[in-house]
Structure formats: C-alpha cells, structure tokens
C-alpha cells in the first residue's frame, strides 16, 4: 500500500497532545480561500514554477511508518504520537487506514486532522484505529461555507455529530480569518453547535496567518483571497472572549 505524501515533520507540538510526527498527505477536496498550504491541494505530484522544488512523493506505508517510529520514545515520554494531516488525509482513505492501523498496532497514539469532508463510511472505518480527531469547523452557515471553501458543510457537520455519537475523542479546530468567518453571528452559531457535542475535549482557535502566502506564487496558483493581514492580537482576544466564555 502506498500513497502521496508531501511532508513529514517530527517533533511537532501543535497538532495534538505531546510531541508528534505529522504526516502530510497530499490532496484536498476543499479550496479554502485562506489555505496556507496551496501546494497540498492537488492530489498530483507538483513541481514549483519558481524553484526546482518538487511537492509530493509516493511512499509506501512501510516507509512512512519507519519515519514515524523514529520518535517512538518521545511519544512515550510526552504522551504524543502521530498526526495524519494534509491536505485532507481522508482523501487517501485506504492509505490512511493502512497507516493508522500500523501505528495503532504499534501502540502509537493516532490523530487525524480532517476537514470532515469525506463519506461517513470512511470515518466509520477509521474509528477503531484513531485515538483523536482534530476536526475543523470553519463556518456553520452552509452557504458561507461554500463561498469560503468551495463545498457545503452538511456532510462535515453530519460526520462530526456521528463521530461524537460513536464516542470518538474530538478536538475542534476553528481557523478564523478576520472579516471572513468571525462575525458575532458566526461565533455564536459555532458555540451553539459545539454545545451539542459530548466527546469534544477541546476547542482550539487557529488564527489566520500569512505564512503560506508566498507558496501561491511558487506553485503558480492564484491567490484566492488576496493578500490579507494576519489576525491581530485584538482579533484573537475578541474570539477568545466570545468563544471561551461559557463553552
């Protein structure tokens, strides 16, 4: 079993608990206007237009797991593990299942970072081998969700509720972009929705940053939403105040 991977980062501390290895699977069905990994969107291996950099390579599950296992001692000492992210890792569902199963069999904590946009059957299959879902909630209003990501959010919200009912551990992650999905109404709706979840352990705000912006030119992709400013301290303060006051 093999798949397309565009990066493997070790010693990451932001995508799940403890020290983690993040495996980035290539390909995403969404086209979020703020995406900071535009080179991850296409499922194909791509060549940068301004440098000789190549994004993506075919790797076997064994090759990926050899990398993942290198930091086993640090997963153990920190309560960390592996996080499969992307792109949208569920787009390579069979490969992801093979990887998650192998890690799970090794006793490595498995997190999947997902937009939630994949058939329920794929999620259901993952349940026994995934310890934590890092689940993006971008916008509760379906129409706006479509404008911002290219897809409606019915499937996203349904899958989330189903995962919750199935007892999966969930960390909700909200990528917030000033002026795009952070109105009082957006945040109120978000809070209202997550109140329904019984197995949500955490809700994280992921403030928009500009760090990926130069990659659009590098990979010859049009900037979908122009050159926006990163979220300010004031924005983050406001989001925190509204979202965390009684979640």
């Amino acid at each position: 079993m093999s798949g397309t991977v565009f990066d493997i980062r070790r010693g990451v501390s932001k995508d799940g608990p403890g020290l983690r290895t993040c495996v980035f699977l290539k390909g995403c069905p969404l086209r979020c206007v703020w995406c900071h990994n535009p080179e991850s969107q296409s499922a194909e291996i791509e060549r940068a237009v301004t440098t000789d950099e190549v994004c993506g390579r075919i790797m076997s599950a064994g090759e990926v797991m050899a990398e993942v296992r290198r930091d086993a001692v640090f997963y153990d000492s920190s309560g960390g593990g592996v996080t499969f992210t992307g792109g949208e890792p569920m787009m390579q569902a069979d490969f992801l299942f093979a990887l998650a199963s192998a890690a799970h069999a090794d006793g490595i904590h498995v997190a999947v970072d997902t937009s939630g946009f994949a058939p329920w059957a794929a999620f259901e299959r993952m349940l026994p081998v995934v310890d934590l879902f890092l689940y993006d909630l971008k916008c509760i209003d379906s129409g706006r969700h479509r404008e911002l990501t290219g897809v409606e959010n019915r499937l996203v919200l349904e899958n989330l509720l189903r995962l919750d009912i199935a007892g999966a551990k969930i960390w909700i992650r909200c990528p917030l972009v000033p002026g795009l999905n952070d109105s009082d109404g957006d945040l109120a709706a978000l809070k209202e929705f997550v109140r329904r979840l019984r197995n949500m352990e955490k809700l994280e705000i992921c403030p928009y940053h500009q760090l990926g912006i130069e990659k659009y030119a590098k990979f010859g992709k049009p900037l979908l939403y122009g050159n926006r400013n990163s979220a300010s301290g004031k924005d983050v303060e406001r989001w925190n105040r509204i979202i965390y006051c009684d979640v």
């Binding site: 070790r10 010693g11 290198r70 153990d76 000492s77 309560g79």
Partner: protein, 715 residues
C-alpha cells in the same frame, strides 16, 4: 535592606565588572570564570621566572603562588556575604602561554610531527580537569591540611621529590592562610567606615568568618560557604580549576545543623548560595542518586536551584536526571531554564552514565558518584585523574589525510580507520608523556590537597597520587565527517550523480569555479546526519564504532585506561582553520561541527526530536559524554506546557542513551540584534557549550557561530 536589594546590587556590579573585563582584556571565547580585574596600578612581580619567562617544578610553582596569595588584592563588597574575588591565573603567566598549547618544560618534539598531522589537542601540560573532594578540606580546615602535609613530609623524609612536594604544599597553604587573614582585616577596615547597619554587621561577620577559617575548620553554613569560595578562588588563581562537586550534599549537613539551632533561615541559606554561585561559576551537580542508589535531592537542592534562578548571571549547575529522582527538582530546573533563558541549569542522564562507566570495570556505586563537574565531563571527586576535555582528535583532519590518499569510498573507509588508529596511538603516547613529566612541570598543588592519595602517598595526583586514572580522549568534528562520508555514499555509490574523482578534484580545489560550485551544491544538499535514516546517520554511528574500537577498553602504552567521548568544547573555529574543504560541501577553513551535534540545517523542520535521537545514537557509552547542545527559540508567548514538552524531550534523549544536555532557550531576534550591537544587551548570557558566558564578551566570529546554531523551532 533586604536580600533582594543586595542581590540586585551584586548582579549590577557583576555586569559592570564584565564590561570592564571586556574593555581591558578584549573578547574571550571562554567561561566567565568569575574573576575581576586587579587595580590598574597592581604589579605582578613573581619571584621565580627564568630568562625565557618560564618556571617549573613544585617549589617554583609554590613560591610564585605564595607570592600571588600574599600580595593578592583584597576585594570586599559590603553587600556580599563572601569575602574576596580572584584576579590572576598563575598558569597563564608563563611567557608564550596559549590556550591550545600549554607551556611544558620537557621536549616532546619527537611526537609533534604526527600530532600535527592529525591536529591532536594533546593535553600535554594541561592542568586541573578532574574533581576535588571538598569534604577533605571542610573536615580539616587550612590548619588541619597544613598539619597533614607536614606529617607527610616527615613520613617521606627519604624521598626528595615527596619532601619538595610537601614543602610546596605547605607554602601554598601558608599563602592562602595569609590571604584569608588579609581579607578579614580588609572586611574589618571596611566595616569602620560603613554607615549602613546591615552592611556593617555583614562586614564584621565576614571578618569573623575569615579570621576563623584561616586556620580552623569551618563549622557553620556561612563558614563552609566562605571556605568553598576561598578554595575555588585559590585554585582558580593557581591553574583555572573550575570543578565543583555535589553541592547540595556538601552543604546539607551544615544547613540542617544551623537550621536546627535556629541560627539560619532558608532565606539566609539562599542568599549565601547566591553569593557562592556569583563568586565563581564552578561546575556543581545537584540531585541524582547516592552511591547506594537512593535519591539525594533535599531541601538544600531546591535552595541552591532558587539561588541560581535569582543569580541571573553566568552559572554552571547540572541536575542529574534519573528514574528514582524527585521529579519536582527536574521540573523546577526546566521552568527556570525557560523563564530566565540564561542557559542553566543543564541536565545529565544518570542511566547511560552509570551503565557506561561500569563497562570500564567499575562498580555501580562508584559509577553513581561520578558526577557532572566540568564542561562536558564527569569525575569521581577526589578519586580520579582524567585530563577531561583537554585531549582531542580532530577527526575532520584525520579524514582529510585519508581522503587525499583515496580513490574510492571503500579505500577511504579503510584509510580513515588506519589513520584514526594512528591518531589514537600518538594521542595515547602524548598522554603517557604528560603523566610521566607533569609532576615536574606543574604539580597540582591545590587539587592534591583535596584528593584521596597525593598527600597520603607523597605523590602528585598526575603521577601516581590518584586512586584511578581514566584518561579521556574526545573526538571532534563528527558531523562534518559523517556528512562527508554520507554525501560520498549517496551521490556516488547510490545515485551515481558524481564520481569519486570529480568530488576529489573539486574538494582539493576548494570547490573553485562553476563546476566546483555545482559539485559542492550536490554534496551540500545530500542527506545529513541528524535527519534520520540517511547515509550520514549511518556513518555517524559507524564513526562512533570506530572511535570505540580504538579507545574504549584500551590502555596507553604505559597502561593507563582510556575513555572515549565526542566533544569540541569552544574550539570549532580553531579546529576548522586547519582543515581544507570537505566532501560535505564545507569550504577550507570553515568551522567544524560542534560536539555530537548535527550541522545546522540538518533537517528542513529542524526537529528537536530528530536531533535528540541523532545525538543519542552516537553516544560512545563508556561513562564520558557526547553532550547535546540545543538552542531553542521560544517566543515569549503562551506555551503553558512548554516545561512538559522540554522535560519529555530530555527524558526521551536520556532513555535513548543521552548523557548530557546543554540548552539555550533564547530569543533569536534578541541574539541577532545583540550580535549586531553587543553593547545593547550587556546582561545577555548564553550557554556557549558546557559553560555559559556573557554574549558580548565572545569574539564576533564565535558570536556568529552561536547565531547560526539557533534552531528556530518552538518546543
């Protein structure tokens, strides 16, 4: 006036003193050492110097040392609990002294051609670099030590060398006693003119303490702290010795006794420890197991750690991390490291150190007592003579010699092995030469007094006086050589992208011209040591096997046991200057790699776990270290679990076999700014390697190296 105010004033004065040192002495890529400048009009007029500005032998050293002690300016600070600061380094006063090459009274030119061929740092004539057992001095006091050497002199009346040595020890002690008495008088004098009642009382107590410990053994906590400081300063003055000991256990009995009597509070004890650490950044260990394997963390350990936290100056405190430890001490140490960002404390890994040292045939009890008291090194206080951290083989130079003779990778490996073996042989001969002559060149007059054996046997510690001889040999340049082998294997053997001849031509021409640069880029971009699973990673482990195969469980021709390690100290620039271009894409004369660390840029993500695993994978594993030097840039921000993550990283490294971790938690932007204009940050302290130093006292070239080393990764 409270302790906090006194501490603040003492730290401010320390910064002024550092600035003055820099102005008068210039940049120095060394430890701060705690020394202060003598008054400008003070003239050193040593009684013994030959026409060439040299001296040797016990009596000459003793006469010169005694002169220094008897004339040493008496530094008194009314805010300080400790009298005295040290100002001179006798061992550097012989004409032509170089840090990289000690003056030596015996000709070893028969060894030098091969030593130079492999750029061996020979250790010949090097002093100190093993650890004292202060308890010997604390139990006897200077008066008791004087009696002890006088008795030994009578006992060895038939042995001319022993008599000279003991008479020299006497002179050294008498000089120290005179200095302590003068310190007492100076404190008394100062008290007369001091208006502030707290300072005045402090000065009078300082005088009383000095008057007592000039002869009698110390009894109270304050007397013990002053005694240790006096020994440290005297020993520094003699030959820069900076090894401390297990400070918490050394102080605990006196602390407990004074506490029980109601004459000492925890605040008093903390202030006294603060003054001791400020006086001199000696290397101390806290925590860790006793010889029988129980945890020796005590209230005293925490008091020392909190004193260090308040010090905010150069400090070399190590916490021993082990399975049975009080994790609270570990956590507090990490919290201080993260909050203060001054490069201390450091952490040593008990498991690998103990298991490793036992492989040399020693008991677990002894191995547990071998503690962190030097830059990269462990030592058995008072029992062992080691030449730690002063004997090094520049393996980049060994590689260069082998490469010039080779036409293929297989041939290169064979040649490297052969030349490395020859390099170890010449190094071992150098060690023997040192051990044969050093007692006549520069006897260890100060450390002999606090070692088990020299006085009892009438022999210098470097010449049969010590209980154990475990001679250290460190390899330097690991990543440069591993990456060079790795690049050759990847680009030539695996990919066929280059031929050996192409590489050789380019390397020998220092990658000149367009073609040279093309080859250099290909080599430079190959998989590095530290990335995980690369050819270079495998070569780094192979180089460790080669290191061990020639050093571990080997003895010198004269039968002295050798122990391997990986360490460059602060010598990456010097080692690099003598090595031409290397096949990792490094140009001629550029610095070599630091210790066991991968080269900067070893992975795109700079992953700390990858680095931790890599450095653990190259541990020689015989009780000496291959330290992990880690620079972490951590934003001021909001990392509530940073301590947990850093502890996990250190724990993981030690579980994999790591031995010692030196960490800088720094603000990268501040370091870059300070590099441009050092005067902007006079209080910025960085861990250079095993030691910490004020950033602005380092040379521009060395500051540049520290900047390059920064890993801009959040924990």
């Amino acid at each position: 006036m409270n302790y906090a105010e006194r501490m603040a004033r003492l730290v401010a004065r320390k910064i002024e003193q550092t600035k003055a040192k820099q102005e008068r002495l210039g940049s120095r890529d060394e430890d701060d050492y705690g020394l202060v400048l003598p008054p400008e009009n003070f003239k050193v007029d040593l009684p013994v110097r030959d026409a060439a500005g040299q001296w040797s032998g016990p009596r000459s050293w003793a006469l010169n040392f005694r002169w220094l002690m008897e004339n040493h300016p008496c530094y008194i600070d009314p805010d300080d609990a400790i009298a005295g600061r040290w100002m001179f380094m006798l061992s550097r006063m012989r004409l032509g002294y170089q840090l990289s090459r000690s003056n030596f009274a015996f000709d070893y030119s028969h060894l030098e051609p091969i030593q130079r061929k492999y750029d061996i740092t020979t250790g010949i004539g090097k002093d100190a670099h093993f650890a004292p057992d202060y308890q010997i001095g604390l139990d006897l006091g200077w008066g008791g030590l004087l009696e002890k050497v006088r008795a030994a002199k009578r006992r060895f009346a038939e042995d001319a060398y022993a008599v000279e040595l003991m008479e020299s020890e006497e002179m050294a002690i008498v000089g120290i006693m005179a200095w302590i008495r003068r310190l007492a008088a100076a404190a008394d004098d100062r008290a007369m003119t001091e208006d502030d009642p707290v300072r005045r009382a402090n000065l009078l107590e300082m005088a009383r303490v000095c008057n007592k410990i000039a002869d009698a053994r110390p009894d109270t906590f304050r007397e013990v702290v002053q005694w240790i400081a006096i020994f440290n300063m005297a020993s520094r003055t003699y030959n820069r010795d900076g090894a401390g000991g297990q400070l918490d256990e050394m102080l605990r009995p006196y602390y407990e006794r004074d506490k029980a009597k109601g004459v000492l509070t925890d605040d008093d004890a903390e202030f006294l420890c603060f003054c001791l650490l400020l006086n001199d950044p000696h290397y101390y260990q806290i925590g860790g197991p006793t010889g029988d394997g129980t945890d020796q963390t005590s209230r005293m350990s925490y008091i020392i750690l909190e004193a260090a936290a308040k010090l905010k100056s150069s400090c070399n405190l190590t916490i021993r991390v082990w399975d049975g430890m009080d994790r609270g001490l570990f956590r507090r140490g990490v919290e201080i490291l993260l909050a203060n960002r001054l490069g201390y404390p450091r952490f040593s890994g008990d498991k690998a150190l103990v298991e490793g040292f036992m492989k040399n045939g020693y008991s677990a009890e002894l191995a547990r007592k071998r503690i962190a008291v030097g830059c990269n090194w462990m030592s058995l206080p008072g029992m062992e003579y080691t030449l730690n951290d002063v004997v090094k083989i520049n393996i980049a130079k060994v590689f260069e010699v082998a490469f010039a003779e080779s036409g293929s990778l297989a041939e290169l490996e064979e040649n490297y092995r052969r030349h490395f073996k020859a390099a170890v042989e010449i190094t071992a001969k150098g060690i023997d030469f040192h051990l044969e002559h050093q007692y006549l060149n520069e006897p260890e007059l100060l450390l002999n007094l606090v070692s088990h054996g020299p006085i009892e046997k009438g022999k210098d510690v470097s010449h049969g006086g010590a209980m154990y001889y475990n001679m250290a040999i460190d390899g330097a340049g690991l990543a440069v050589v591993a990456d060079s082998f790795g690049a050759l294997e990847q680009r030539i053997s695996v990919e066929g992208a280059l031929t050996f001849e192409e590489v050789k031509n380019a390397v020998l021409a220092d990658f000149a011209g367009e073609e040279g640069e093309r080859v250099r880029r290909l080599l430079d971009s190959s998989g590095r040591y530290g990335a995980g699973g690369t050819s270079a990673d495998r070569w780094a482990m192979k180089l460790t096997e080669i290191l061990n195969s020639e050093i571990a469980n080997h003895v010198t021709p004269d039968g002295f046991k050798l122990i391997p390690g990986w360490f460059t100290w602060a010598d990456t620039l010097r080692f690099g200057k003598v090595v031409g271009a290397t096949p990792n894409g490094r140009k001629a004369g550029e610095p070599i790699s630091h210790g066991a660390n991968p080269l900067p840029g070893f992975r795109k993500d700079g992953a700390l776990t990858a680095m931790a695993a890599a450095v653990a994978s190259v541990q020689p594993g015989y009780g000496n270290t291959a330290p992990w030097q880690l620079e972490v840039d951590i934003g001021l921000a909001d990392e509530p679990d940073a301590a947990d993550k850093l502890m996990a990283l250190i724990d993981g490294h030690f579980r994999l076999g790591g031995t010692l971790v030196n960490i800088n938690v720094v603000d990268a932007e501040k370091i870059v700014e300070a590099h441009k204009d050092p005067s902007k940050y006079p209080d910025l302290i960085v861990r250079v390697t095993g030691f910490t130093a004020y950033f602005n006292s380092l040379s521009p070239a060395f500051r540049e190296l520290v900047v390059k080393r920064l890993v801009k990764e959040r924990i």
